[in-house]
């Protein structure tokens, strides 16, 4: 029996799978991998098999289960293990999800578009004023999702600066800065929820107070937990997809040219970038709560299960020219937002933010180019969200 390869592995190019994943893909579509703590977990790398397992009734998100796989040290914390929605199974998961669905549906996200366009235009104004070279991470990628979720939740205007500053530190600070900023954000949300319960405003938090807290469905603590998960999920993923999307397009000028030829191609291009980049290297961390048979393997109750978005999105059994970026492709479907009942609640908001940002950036700054070679861009993250810490551009 060959040894289970290590997972996750660090990318050397921000949008390409690390070299070691080739071996993992070859041994797929289902194999065992070794995690950082020496434990083993099952990994699914095939697209079809990922869809199958993510809709299997014996797959559980209960992070407090002793067999739940921990893929990086930061997921050991109590907060990470008890996240609303993400760490829940039905029936509780479904109840919470239904509270939020109306506020993240495709239709409600489309109503938010004009405001997101104004927000993005404001950030691009500041980039143009700043002049080259400009670092798109602090000037656009980090503050955009922060401000959008801030407005959606109904964070008071005077707190926007604190909010963006704290979320920036959570993502870009040293380990100590990041932990302090996360605690500050938690304390802030805790106070904000208390205020909203006394005097609900028009944003999502106020709406949830009126729809769910007043009715006795949930209390203060549950609302804090929901707000926290919306914040965490909205930030890092969208921010990273934006930065990596810009890098990928600038590194594929013929693809960017196709996009510029016809703005109607933008939604398809965003889908293809989501597939190709797979910002969420790992799209699911689960534990089997009963035996699962898949692709000739038997996953036993209590064993950990991981799904690799990076590899499933580039499964040659499903995607033609799987390793090629093609913004015009028809088969751009992907697992970047997951699959099954946990599929990303904010997926349509994320798509819209990316569309608006790419449109504005590449139209307003036509001569935009990378001001540093890709190998020099500092990369963070392995097995979770792939990000760059700096993205200097010039024009």
């Amino acid at each position: 029996m060959t040894e289970a390869p290590p997972y996750p592995q660090k990318r050397t190019c921000p949008y390409e799978p690390p070299a070691g994943y080739r071996e993992i893909a070859e041994r797929g579509p289902v194999l065992k991998v070794t995690l950082f703590d020496g434990r083993e977990a099952w990994m699914v790398t095939g697209y079809r098999e990922s869809r199958e397992i993510l809709t299997h009734p014996n797959l559980s998100s209960q992070r407090t289960h002793p067999g739940f796989p921990i893929v990086a040290p930061r997921f050991r914390s109590q907060i990470a293990r008890t996240l609303a929605l993400i760490a829940m199974d039905p029936p509780v998961h479904d109840v919470y999800r239904r509270y939020l669905n109306p506020h993240f549906s495709l239709k409600s996200v489309r109503r938010m578009r004009p405001e997101v366009e104004r927000i993005v235009a404001g950030f691009v104004d500041r980039i143009v004023e700043h002049g080259p070279p400009a670092d798109l991470v602090p000037l656009l990628a980090v503050p955009l999702p922060s401000l959008v979720i801030c407005r959606h939740l109904g964070v008071p205007y005077e707190d926007h600066d604190f909010f963006q500053d704290a979320s920036g530190k959570v993502m870009l600070g040293t380990e100590e800065e990041s932990a302090t900023a996360a605690q500050d954000l938690f304390d802030y949300i805790d106070r904000l929820v208390a205020e909203q319960i006394k005097d609900p405003s028009d944003g999502l938090l106020g709406t949830l107070v009126r729809e769910r807290v007043v009715t006795g469905d949930i209390g203060h603590d549950e609302l804090v937990s929901i707000a926290l998960v919306l914040l965490i999920a909205a930030h890092e993923t969208t921010s990273s997809s934006l930065a990596l999307g810009v890098i990928t397009l600038l590194e594929h000028p013929e693809q960017l040219a196709l996009l510029r030829e016809d703005p109607e191609r933008l939604p398809g291009a965003v889908e293809e970038l989501l597939r190709y980049i797979a910002t969420t290297d790992l799209v699911a961390t689960r534990v089997a709560k009963g035996d699962i048979e898949i692709a000739g393997h038997l996953i036993r109750e209590g064993e950990g299960v991981l799904v690799s978005g990076t590899l499933a999105n580039r499964d040659a059994a499903v995607h033609e020219r799987a390793d090629e970026l093609d913004v015009l492709r028809e088969d751009s479907h992907h697992l970047t937002f997951g699959f099954g009942i946990h599929q990303c609640l904010g997926q349509n908001l994320a798509r819209m933010e990316l569309e608006v940002a790419f449109q504005e950036l590449f139209t307003r700054i036509p001569g935009i180019r990378l001001a540093a070679p890709v190998p020099e861009l500092p990369i963070l993250g392995a097995g979770t969200v792939q990000r760059v810490l700096r993205l200097p551009v010039a024009w």
Binding site: L54, T55, R97, R98, N101, P102, H103, F104, S105, L106, K107, S108, V109, H333, F337, G338, F339, G340, I341, Q343, Q347, N348
Partner: protein, 71 residues
């Protein structure tokens, strides 16, 4: 040629909106964000896109059959 019919289960729906994005002629969302089928009998020229919508649905809430679904 047999006509294709589509139905959607609101109990399973998670409001991903992939169906509506793929085929807005056939799928809509109600105020709760849940799937609504506008035209259960699918026009032949929309069949491929309806099949794509069913394939993309993360919670497998969309069913395609050769007749109308009861209830």
């Amino acid at each position: 040629m047999t006509a294709v019919w589509v139905s959607a289960d609101q109990e399973r729906c998670i409001s991903g909106g992939r169906c509506m994005a793929a085929t807005s002629e056939v799928f809509d969302q109600d105020e709760e964000g849940l799937v609504v089928v506008l035209t259960p009998q699918v026009a032949p020229e929309l069949e491929d896109r309806v099949r794509k919508a069913a394939y993309l649905c993360p919670s497998r809430a969309i069913r395609i059959g050769d007749g109308p679904t009861q209830g």
